[in-house]
Symmetry: C2
Subunit: 99 residues, 2 copies
Amino acid sequence: MKFSELTPEQLDQAANMLKAIAHPVRISILNCLEDGKKLTVSEIHSTLKIEQATASHHLGILKDKGVLNSKRDGKNTFYFLKHENLTSILDCVSKCSCS
Amino acid sequence: MKFSELTPEQLDQAANMLKAIAHPVRISILNCLEDGKKLTVSEIHSTLKIEQATASHHLGILKDKGVLNSKRDGKNTFYFLKHENLTSILDCVSKCSCS
DNA sequence: TATTAATATACAAATATATAAATATTATGC
DNA sequence: GCATAATATTTATATATTTGTATATTAATA
């Protein structure tokens, strides 16, 4: 799939997905969710030492833009990567930003 | 290199790099520069049918954030990818946003 | 040197995003 | 139903980004 074959809508969706990822807190969240891990809002909030509302907010953005999925289980909501291979983006950028 | 091993500064740089890419016009620009191609501002501006100033502006952002490099040759400035493997980000996102 | 081509920058208006604090919703267990 | 825990949403303020238009810079050439 070449980008030149994408419709403007798909191009926008790709940009929105990347925009969602392109934030220090949200990169850190994705880092927590590597290897198929499913974590609750509380776990993210305590692990990253950020406000509960902030964690929920960023998780909501990532879900809204198609990066994450979530599954409610009682009082908890577990978040996880929608596409496992998205972490390869992180690998690539971390390589590029360290050289 | 795991992200958890990145310093806050490197995390910010990675986020800035992704933010630079995360825009429909700039994704289209990167798409033009695949396979090591080097293009001038004029070529980008006519290929993508955007204003000259807009092309220059977006190219400047991509260069400033470490995504592109440029080389002046007389009246022309040629832009090209700084890290060839950055296009793998596009491949990944295009796959994810089409499924 | 004057003209033209190619690129880059400055500015302003509209839009979008980030952050924190407060409040609301959803679900459990007594 | 009431209290509590876990999430989610709202609101307001500050900041950043995008876009177009105009202008400035840089380089070649007549």
